[in-house]
């Protein structure tokens, strides 16, 4: 089993806090949707920086397709063709005043011919539903638009793995929906996505797997299983998604992941009335 | 009926967009919990700036206790004793080296004697559940802690009305819970609160009333009523809170506001046979 990307007993941190992560192991399989959960300051962003090759761990290894990451300039350049990270604050990432120019930054660094760069810029803006923004000034964009453009900048590198730091934070519900549609298009186009978020309902609905950062370590598993674990939830400052909480309160042995499934569960279960479902 | 604060046909905006708000009328009664909803860029923050006396409307009036706001230096000083606003980004409003000093900024500007300032600082940190932070350096605080300290800075002015711009954005679920508890303490202590948020479930659960900014105008009403209005929700880029969506999908004529009420609704409504099982 060679994972697309893998962290192996990683210890990493920052000057003031050297062991934010203390022996973290994580497997990201090709094609999964992985949600990264955890309290404020638990180390989600730190872990993503390690995976993106931007923060060298004090010990432990990062492996891509089974090969240890080479932290030299050359090795990192290669790594970034495969793994791209999008930060939470779009302003921390958009340096060019012109949207198309900004998105072209990564492909230009790859030394691609100008025509191919242009094509990639168009395509990635389209995937993010932001093609109409190409000629706008970065500082004229709304927050949600900037988020999408920042993501397009990473997508233009055609990475195998996208690391997204709270891509829906600060967006209005319609913006969240648009971002989710964009992520679905990316997954359909073959990308593997890891998304850090504080929104447990979103994680449950979107992800296949979850990784919870807690006490400087990571617990990985099926998202519905981890989010039903009350002990973990309390320790990691999370909360149970309402669908799971509702099912549990009604004594149903199901794990609906979203509103539709919850409705289905309740309508399935209602006609049968005094059905055993409730009698457990 | 004299509202605590009232906007009367307010037209306001910014140099590039002069009519972000175009004839907005809003009443804030003493003691209400008012949720301010709307899309990104709809003008929630702009409206709060007008109410706080930071942005003078092009036309229309702001009335406090029925008296039109006097936009002179003196008038504004008086207004800010009664109305305080907390911005979304906590970093931009902490400008002192340590927490206690920062919270004292407002009271010091009121020219209060040092002892009274000290007392206010203690009390407001206590209300926000942040008394243990008093001696810490502001730049060592976590995101959630900074949010609470920034709010304490406004609370120390002992305002009648607090305007909070997305106080729970970016917080982990435990942080959201703590912030809500703090708001409950503030309400118990007599404050009226207006909170801008993108979290419709939170709005429904917390607020009595809602004001939705949409198409440069505001619709005000009971929160459960506005959030059940599908037309308004679509126009304002919102979504129906899951509790309301669930009740509607199940064809129930109820408006549960949170998980507990949803559970109660479902257990009430289920056939008697199932009842005992589920009621555990």
């Amino acid at each position: 089993m060679t994972a697309l990307l893998q962290a192996d007993h990683v210890v990493a941190g920052h000057p003031g806090r050297p062991r934010v992560l203390d022996g973290v192991t994580l497997h990201i399989e090709r094609g999964t949707r992985l949600a990264l959960l955890g309290a404020n300051g638990s180390g989600k962003t730190t872990l993503m920086s390690v995976l993106a090759g931007s923060l060298e761990p004090a010990s432990g290894r990062v492996l891509r397709e089974g090969e240890p990451l080479d932290w030299s300039r050359k090795g990192l350049r290669e790594h970034r063709r495969h793994v791209q990270m999008v930060l939470q604050d779009p302003d921390a990432q958009l340096f060019s005043a012109d949207v198309a120019q900004d998105v072209s930054f990564g492909p230009m660094n790859l030394g691609l011919p100008v025509d191919e760069v242009r094509e990639r810029v168009d395509q990635s803006l389209r995937l993010l539903g932001a093609d109409h923004l190409a000629e706008r000034a970065t500082h004229h964009l709304s927050y949600g638009e900037r988020k999408r453009v920042a993501t397009a900048g990473a997508v233009a590198m055609r990475p195998d793995l996208l690391l997204l730091d709270e891509p829906t934070a600060g967006l209005d519900p319609a913006g969240v929906r648009q971002m989710r549609e964009a992520l679905d298009r990316l997954t359909a186009a073959g990308a593997t996505i890891l998304m850090a978020t504080h929104d447990v309902a979103l994680a449950l609905d979107w992800a296949d797997e979850a990784a919870v950062v807690c006490d400087a370590a990571v617990r990985q598993g099926p998202v519905d299983e981890l989010l039903a674990d009350s002990g973990l939830i309390a320790r990691a400052h999370l909360e149970k998604p309402w669908t799971l909480a509702l099912a549990a309160a009604l004594g149903l042995d199901r794990r609906p992941r979203n509103l539709e499934q919850a409705i289905a569960m309740l309508t399935d279960e209602r006609p049968a009335g005094a059905h055993d479902g409730a009698a457990r | 009926m004299t509202a605590l604060l009232q906007a009367d046909h307010v037209v306001a905006g910014h140099p590039g967009r002069p009519r972000v708000l175009d004839g907005v009328t809003l009443h804030i009664e003493r003691g209400t919990r008012l949720a301010l909803l709307g899309a990104n860029g709809s003008g929630k923050t702009t409206l709060m700036s007008v109410l706080a006396g930071s942005l003078e409307p092009a036309s229309g009036r702001v009335l406090r206790e029925g008296e039109p706001l006097d936009w002179s230096r003196k008038g504004l000083r008086e207004h800010r004793r009664h109305v305080q606003m907390v911005l979304q980004d906590p970093d931009a409003q902490l400008f002192s080296a340590d927490v206690a000093q920062d919270v004292s900024f407002g009271p010091m500007n009121l020219g209060l004697p040092v002892d009274e300032v000290r007392e206010r600082v203690d009390q407001s940190l206590r209300l926000l559940g942040a008394d243990h932070l008093a001696e810490r350096a502001t730049h060592h605080l976590s995101y959630g802690e900074r949010k609470r300290v920034a709010t304490a800075g406004a609370v120390a002015m002992r305002p009648d009305l607090l305007l909070l711009d997305e106080p729970t954005a970016g917080l982990d679920p435990a942080g959201v819970r703590q912030m809500r508890e703090a708001l409950d303490r503030l309400t118990a202590a007599g404050a009226t609160i207006l909170m801008a948020t993108h979290d419709v479930a939170l709005a429904l659960d917390w607020a009595d009333e809602a004001a939705v900014v949409c198409d440069a105008a505001v619709r005000q009403g009971p929160v459960d009523e506005l959030l059940a209005d599908s037309g308004l929700i679509a126009r304002a880029h919102l979504e129906k809170p899951w509790t309301l969506a669930l009740a509607a999908a199940l064809g129930l004529d109820r408006r549960p506001r949170n998980l507990e009420q949803a559970i109660a609704m479902l257990t009430d409504e289920r056939p008697a046979g199932a009842h005992d099982g589920a009621a555990r």
Binding site: H14, P15, G16 | S96, A97, T138, H139
Partner: protein, 236 residues
């Protein structure tokens, strides 16, 4: 206070361009060398430039409520050293000319000379001299800020005087006239800027001591520009 576009005769535009060029090129060479070694310093310099630009839109408190604003070149001179300011000053002046219609392109040389060269250099010399004479830090900062502001305005007055000698008393008379007129706003402003500088550095020492040390502030001069900044930046 910058000289508006079109006001200086062509020959004088050329002269001031020529006078400013060596300083600007010197600064630019330094900056290029600096960022070749530390590409990450680009951002710090850009931040300094953006802040200098924006500083001119901050209103200073005053009793009368007039709308004076700081020029900020003194802070830049202390934090980033005059050669760097000479180059960043050009960028800021071009931006002010094209974004605010403040200054101009043909008068860029003259404005650069007064605001980005004379001001920072003279201010910085005074700063060093005060320190050399064991003057207190606050005094050094005050003098640097105030004098770099005053120097800028004196040079500008002379530039205008050369272009428009007084009909009866010639260049000297014109210079006195311009000095007199602009003194109304500039002398109080430079004093205010001096005080502001003291308060600003006091604030920075309280909340950002390590970064200041990283910039070479009060630790010893001689470190070129932003060299040390980048190292600090990683753990800001």
């Amino acid at each position: 206070m910058h000289i508006a576009e079109g006001v200086l005769p062509p020959a004088q535009c050329a002269i001031w361009y020529a006078a400013a060029a060596p300083f600007v090129i010197h600064g630019a060479v330094k900056v290029v060398k600096e960022v070749r070694e530390h590409p990450e310093n680009k951002l710090l310099l850009a931040t300094a430039g953006a802040c200098t630009f924006l500083l001119s839109s901050i209103k200073l408190p005053s009793v009368t409520g007039s709308s004076s604003h700081p020029t900020g070149t003194g802070v830049g001179a202390i934090l980033f050293k005059p050669p760097v300011m000479a180059f960043m000053g050009v960028i800021v002046l071009v931006f002010q000319a094209l974004l605010l219609a403040h200054g101009g392109i043909t008068t860029l040389g003259a404005n650069t000379f007064s605001m980005a060269i004379a001001g920072p250099w003279i201010g910085y010399w005074v700063y060093l001299l005060t320190k050399r004479l064991h003057g207190p830090n606050a005094l050094a900062i005050f003098l640097c800020m105030a004098i770099s502001d005053l120097a800028t305005y004196c040079v500008t007055s002379f530039q205008l005087a050369f272009a428009f000698p007084d009909a009866s008393s010639g260049v000297v008379g014109a210079a006195l006239k311009f000095l007199g007129i602009f003194a109304v706003s500039q002398v109080p402003l430079s004093i205010m800027e001096g005080f502001l500088g003291i308060l600003l550095f006091r604030f920075l020492v309280r909340v950002a001591a390590p970064q200041l040390a990283g910039l070479g502030f009060d630790i010893g001069a001689g470190r070129a520009g932003a060299a040390a900044v980048a190292k600090e930046d990683s753990h800001v």
